[in-house]
């Protein structure tokens, strides 16, 4: 049997050499490269894609090479958020797909400081980071991230506490409406009648029996300065909301609707289309709250029938069977959409450039103003 001799060890393990070298290498890598609009000034030579990657006209907080599934809405959402927020930010991340696919050691897709601790404490970690920034007198903004499981369910308490304490933190919930990382189990965010592995459709059940939690209203009820929903289908709107939230001193919240091709059962290529239909049917309203009051909505020009949205997704496939309950649940979902449209007064009176049809209008030169 052996035991460790505790007298013959160094006082502490010095990692500075290691870290200093790595930092130096990193500084060289990032030198002049962040958020640069300028093409590299080198005449007469062709640029490789890898070089051009370093000279994109938008900040890349989330780099390529992450391991999200094809067509991942959450990866898209996180990319857009990090792009709009960075680079002077610190991100925290709840356990979940986003965390896993961005940080398989020794690699990380993040180009902003980022910390993952646990499933349920993203908001609390962010509160700690924010308190530290305050103590250090730094203006670095803190963004907490989590999926719907980490936000609606297990991390809800920490989130509520963070909001109540008025930390200067933007919390972003990437809402893909189920526990995707563990294999598509129902969450508090799963919509009514959606099939998941723990709310499967069968002879006795038509998918999830309960309703999708109206988290945004609950968050707004904390009387925080700003809480909004956004969708990956409307990147201009999403970016604006991120920037708006970043400008606010105090807690802010964004719920970003992110389709999950695997969990929702749709083609990877229609991620944006599905997200758009969620908005255009009224099932996922884009709403902004300020201090608990509705301060803005994205009006729906022509609300589409919910079946346009449902039929693209296998999680609702059972709603298109001959079972009379299928019809009933389709009508139920339509009624829920109608209710939401009425509740938030989403129906636009006339065509508006910022309504559900106009907000994604493209023009030569791009969406970025």
């Amino acid at each position: 049997m052996t035991t460790t001799d505790d007298t013959a060890v160094e006082t502490s393990v010095d990692t500075t050499t290691d870290i200093a070298a790595r930092k130096a290498a990193l500084r060289n890598r990032l030198k002049d490269k962040r958020g640069s609009n300028e093409a590299p000034a080198r005449a007469g030579t062709a640029f490789s894609i890898a070089e051009l990657r370093e000279h994109q006209p938008a900040f890349r907080g989330l780099e390529a090479g992450h391991r999200a599934c094809q067509g991942c809405g959450e990866a898209l959402g996180a990319r857009l958020v990090a792009e709009s927020a960075g680079p002077d930010v610190i991100l925290t991340n709840a356990t979940g797909c986003l965390e896993i696919f961005t940080s398989p050691w020794p690699q990380s897709a993040w180009r902003v400081p980022w910390i993952h601790s646990l499933f349920e404490n993203s908001a609390a970690i962010a509160a700690g980071v924010e308190a530290a920034m305050k103590h250090l007198g730094k203006s670095t903004k803190v963004i907490a991230q989590g999926g719907d499981g980490g936000t609606f369910d297990i991390g809800f308490q920490a989130l509520s506490g963070m909001l109540e304490r008025m930390h200067n933190v933007l919390y972003v919930c990437y809402d893909n409406e189920a526990y995707m990382n563990t294999g598509v189990q129902r969450s508090g965010s799963t919509p009514h009648a959606a099939a998941t592995t723990t709310s499967p459709a069968g002879l006795e059940r038509m998918g999830k029996r309960h309703l999708k939690k109206d988290l945004l209203s609950i968050i707004a009820a904390h009387h925080i300065p700003y809480a909004a929903s956004a969708s990956v289908a409307y990147p201009v709107d999403l970016r604006r909301k991120v920037r708006r939230a970043m400008e606010v001193e105090g807690p802010t919240f964004l719920q970003v609707h992110c389709p999950c091709p695997l969990g929702w059962g749709h083609e990877s290529s229609v991620t944006v289309e599905v997200a758009r239909l969620a908005v255009q049917t009224g099932l996922f309203p884009l709403v902004e709250f300020e201090r608990g009051e509705v301060a803005g909505v994205m009006p729906l020009r022509n609300p589409k029938p919910v079946t346009d949205y449902l039929k693209l997704q296998n999680r609702f496939r059972h709603l298109f069977s001959n079972d009379p309950r299928a019809r009933e649940e389709r009508e139920h979902l339509q009624a829920l959409a109608d209710h939401t449209i009425e509740k938030f007064n989403l129906r636009g009176e006339e065509a508006d450039p910022l309504d559900s049809e106009g907000a994604d209008t493209v023009r030569r030169g791009g969406l970025v103003a």
Binding site: R53, G65, Q70, G71, L80, W110, S268, G365
Partner: protein, 562 residues
């Protein structure tokens, strides 16, 4: 050897070490389709391309794009029936782009700003080529040959170049200062113009064939088609073209109480309007074609500029669509009317379409004068050997190359299968290409082989309905024989109109692919991107999800299996 970092931290952006491109089963690729406007343009203009340049606020480059195929945009912008607009995908969404307005604007702007044609005659073979006929086909051929460095001599029977543009297009549709300026600019590129030189009279084709390396014939059609109804001809028989040319040249017209024109082209319509303005109370146009609308197939629409049709109706012209004249009514030897019958263009037993008249639909229409406007044939003087007794040359290829007569090419109305100024301009360009190949002893170049993108490929989510700009039009009461009826549009209006373009099948540079790629696998660059695009795919990381292809508003990205 990889060594664990304390606490398992990772360095930023190191995920690029992991090449997710290996996951891909299909890859996004840029596919530059032909836009419908491009495919539809007989002159070969790529409206999508030059409208893109207008969107980028590069009007001069836009004009240069046009004049690589068509040296006369301010002419075609005014008088072409613009099939591009009928083909425009935007027409299935709200209203087609006013492509003609943009084209006209650019042509006028080029003249106003003195932009020089991007022509460098210094290079090329320098051989001498003769062009016979200085109408749109001849001017186009001369121009395109000159662009390729040839020494061009342009012959015409009339003292001035312009052909029908000068002799038969009403001045209120095409102001002569516009035409003169453009022709002067084209001839100024170093083209020798010999007017008053009629083939077969002043110069002979064999001479030309021996003096020049190649020959392009674009004599147009000057010989009225034989016209009778069941063998009957009015005693005061004049063709519409004769009358129109007389009016354009001298301003004189017969003014009976009422007149019936028979035909379906601009000549007929122009004459209708001129006669109405000259004082004819009732002007009827009997045409076998239909009016634009749901009941008319696209290939059966009356071949006139659509807005002119509206103007004609405004001015009081009565149009009898889908009708033909099957009998003339006489009082003595004088025509007093016609019997019309309804007909339609329908598929026949032979498989081709034909016009079928319907028994029992006969109606009578009384008038003092009946004028045929059913077209003209090639005047054979000077060409009789080449024509071989036919009415037209009818070459069997788009380049106008005549079989058995090496080095001789024909184009324009004389081909027999054309009908518009734009088509004539296109012929001139194609012939120049073929003549160049002939002189260099190369093959005929391939025409653009791109497939045309259809409406279903456009992602309409990304476009907003927007009203089409309309040019100011003189009120009926203020219209005269000379003042231009269609007014110009401002640069701001043109910019607004250009912004409506779907950019069908070509990159809009809208950033959608770049914005929506979940994997950061689209790189925005003008350094590496080709074909007018602003993006390249980084296949090291692209997982092939297909979001970019779905969300490309323009159908410019396709997924191809690996």
């Amino acid at each position: 050897m990889l060594v664990l970092t304390r606490g398992g931290y990772a360095l930023p952006g190191t995920s690029t070490d992991f090449k997710t491109g290996t996951w891909r089963t299909s890859r996004p690729q840029h596919q530059h389709w032909a836009a419908p406007c491009h495919s539809a343009c007989p002159a070969g203009e790529d409206a999508q391309a030059y409208i893109a340049q207008v969107q980028e606020n590069h009007p001069r480059e836009a004009w240069e794009t046009i004049v690589t195929v068509n040296p006369l945009p301010s002419v075609t912008g005014r008088i072409c029936p613009h099939p591009c607009e009928q083909a425009c995908n935007r027409g299935s969404f709200d209203t087609p782009l006013a492509i003609h307005s943009i084209e006209r604007f650019l042509g006028d702007e080029a003249r106003r700003q003195g932009w020089t044609y991007p022509v460098d005659p210094g290079r090329g073979a320098g051989a001498a080529v003769a062009v016979v006929g200085a109408g749109p086909a001849g001017l186009s051929a001369a121009y395109h040959l000159r662009r390729r460095g040839y020494q061009v001599t342009l012959f015409d029977a009339l003292p001035e170049a312009g052909g029908l543009l000068r002799s038969a297009i009403p001045i209120n549709r095409l102001p002569r200062d516009v035409l003169d300026a453009d022709i002067t600019r084209i001839l100024g590129l170093g083209i020798e113009f010999r007017g008053r030189t009629r083939l077969g009279v002043d110069v002979h084709i064999d001479e030309l064939r021996s003096d020049y390396r190649a020959l392009f014939l674009a004599p147009g059609t000057a010989k009225a088609k034989a016209w009778s109804v069941d063998g009957a001809v009015p005693t005061d028989h004049r063709t519409a073209l004769e009358l129109l040319q007389e009016w354009v040249a001298a301003g004189s017209l017969p003014t009976p109480q009422s007149v019936i024109l028979h035909g379906g082209g601009n000549t007929a319509l122009d004459l209708c309007r001129a006669m109405k303005r000259a004082g004819v109370k009732e002007v009827h146009l009997v045409t076998a074609s239909g009016l634009p609308g749901p009941g008319t197939e696209p290939d059966d629409i009356i071949n006139v500029v659509p807005r002119e049709l509206n103007q004609a109706v405004e001015e009081g012209i009565t149009i009898h669509p889908h009708r033909t004249i099957q009998r003339l009514l006489f009082r003595g030897s004088k025509v007093v009317g016609v019997e019309m019958v309804a007909l339609r263009k329908l598929p026949t037993k032979s498989g081709r379409t034909g016009r079928i008249a319907f028994e029992g639909t006969e109606t009578l229409l009384h008038a003092d004068m009946v004028i045929p406007a059913i077209g003209e044939n090639v005047e054979p003087t000077g060409f009789s050997t080449l024509l071989g007794g036919k009415e037209y040359f009818r070459p069997n290829n788009p380049f106008g190359r005549l079989d058995h007569t090496p080095g001789v090419f024909v184009g324009g109305d004389a081909r027999g299968d054309r009908g518009t100024v734009s088509a004539a301009i296109g012929d001139g360009r194609l012939a120049a290409i073929a003549i160049d190949a002939y002189i260099r002893q190369g093959d005929d170049p391939e025409e653009n082989g791109r497939d045309t993108i259809d409406f279903a490929h456009i992602n309409l989510n990304y476009f907003e309905p927007a009203p089409r700009v309309e040019e100011p039009i003189l009120p009926v009461a203020e219209r005269t024989d000379t003042a231009e009826i269609d007014g110009p549009l401002s640069g701001a209006a043109i910019t607004r109109e250009a912004a409506r373009c779907f950019s069908c099948g070509n990159c809009l540079a809208c950033d959608n692919c770049w914005t929506f790629c979940p994997d950061n696998a689209v790189i925005k660059t003008t350094a590496l991107a080709k074909d007018g695009s602003h993006y390249v795919f980084d296949y090291e990381y692209c997982k092939g999800c297909g979001v970019c292809a779905s969300e490309c508003p323009c159908g410019y990205i396709v997924m191809n299996p690996e």
